[in-house]
Symmetry: C2
Subunit: 244 residues, 2 copies
Amino acid sequence: MPPSANTLMIRKLESIFPLSNEERQALSELPIQVMVSKPDQDIVRVGDRPSQCCMLIRGFTCVYKLTAEGKRQIVAFHVPGDIPDLQSLHLKVLDNSVATVSACTLGFIQHEALHDLCNRHPRITAALWRETLVDASIFREWMTGIGRREAYNRMAHLLCELKVRLEAVGLAEDGTFDLPVTQTELADAIGASPVHVNRVLQELRGDGLIRSKGTQVSILEWEGLKAAGDFDPLYLHLRKDGNA
Amino acid sequence: MPPSANTLMIRKLESIFPLSNEERQALSELPIQVMVSKPDQDIVRVGDRPSQCCMLIRGFTCVYKLTAEGKRQIVAFHVPGDIPDLQSLHLKVLDNSVATVSACTLGFIQHEALHDLCNRHPRITAALWRETLVDASIFREWMTGIGRREAYNRMAHLLCELKVRLEAVGLAEDGTFDLPVTQTELADAIGASPVHVNRVLQELRGDGLIRSKGTQVSILEWEGLKAAGDFDPLYLHLRKDGNA
DNA sequence: CGGATCGTTGAGTTGTATCAAGACGGGTGG
DNA sequence: CCACCCGTCTTGATACAACTCAACGATCCG
């Protein structure tokens, strides 16, 4: 039985911020409207002025931007518990689009309800602020990879990150997780061409670092993949790592 | 006569968020310790746990990350009024380093004083949160450029961004501003080699888009440079653009 | 007037893109 | 239950953006 939307949100916030019972209670009473969505659907688009935030409950979503030439850059993937457009709480006009990658379950929360919650619980404000800061930290790390690492290493890094983030919400075990993401989407995320992603994945498999069967990915050599990806989880700012 | 540190902070926050008289008053009383720094000095480093934030008052600073191979990616430049490590207010361990690019004047503000200010003025919390969200938005835009635009266009984009941001704090006029940044640093920012940056700058000059003399840069054809850089200022979320 | 830093230029190399075509595989309809 | 089809994955060949290396020129400064 999957956790409720509210439980998921609490669990996610607690992975980066300690909550009191009172705060957990307040969060559990937050009204969340649950919907399901097909793959490859825009949830919000550049220029939108949403009056609600969207929490991912099941599946994968991404944030992307398009260039004038029509090229797409995926700047973030989300795992269940993430709030892809939390920024819209304070930036009225969206500067990016959010789309489903796989089939998804989504939970919508009115801005008004969140503002109200923040006013009554300043520490929840801090927790949400912190969540947006972790997002920003991930942007910095991805930018460093795209600018200064080669495609092979970026791919390794992305797999490391997904493994750790999915583990944090209980969706990866023994280095195995479901990744319903096409190679074209991976390419848009690491700033490479789909063809090159294909070759890089073959290299990673050939080097014995990963294995994949359908959408299932297994990390065979965690230390090796971390080394290949130059991966240090510090930037994820997870509580369990003690770098709150 | 340059503005005081507090005045600068107020002016900067107001460029993205409206403040009341009372809030301006509170900000003007914030204790800020002013210091000067030479170029190329680290202000804070990866792994630090600072107890204060640093506001840039005069000069240029940058945020950078290093890869295992020793390559550097600059993920952000700052202009006076920016607070490069505002994130440290909620992320205890820094995941990046901040360094001066030119000679700088810096203002240090204790976390305690900021937390106190935020507790007394929830709207200042919102303003500062918003500031970190704009930073994140700039990261997304840079990532899109590095991943999906060519070096020529990235360079044009960076110059557009700096022009707009410097204008917002009164440091650019008629498309002319001081840019005390070496080509090597520009290269680290757009994810290119110094040699290539040199060539791309020559191209921009040859195309009649910019001119430079020493550290002074002049934009000769604003519309042309915007087009070359695929630049849309929406992502800077400036109030004057009406996309608060 | 050295000496250091930064900018410029040329030549050769490489990572990665693009193009094109074929193989696979999971759904759908006959 | 098979045949087909569409999206995805895979492979090979070619092209190009950008890197590296190396040297030289320009500036600034003590």
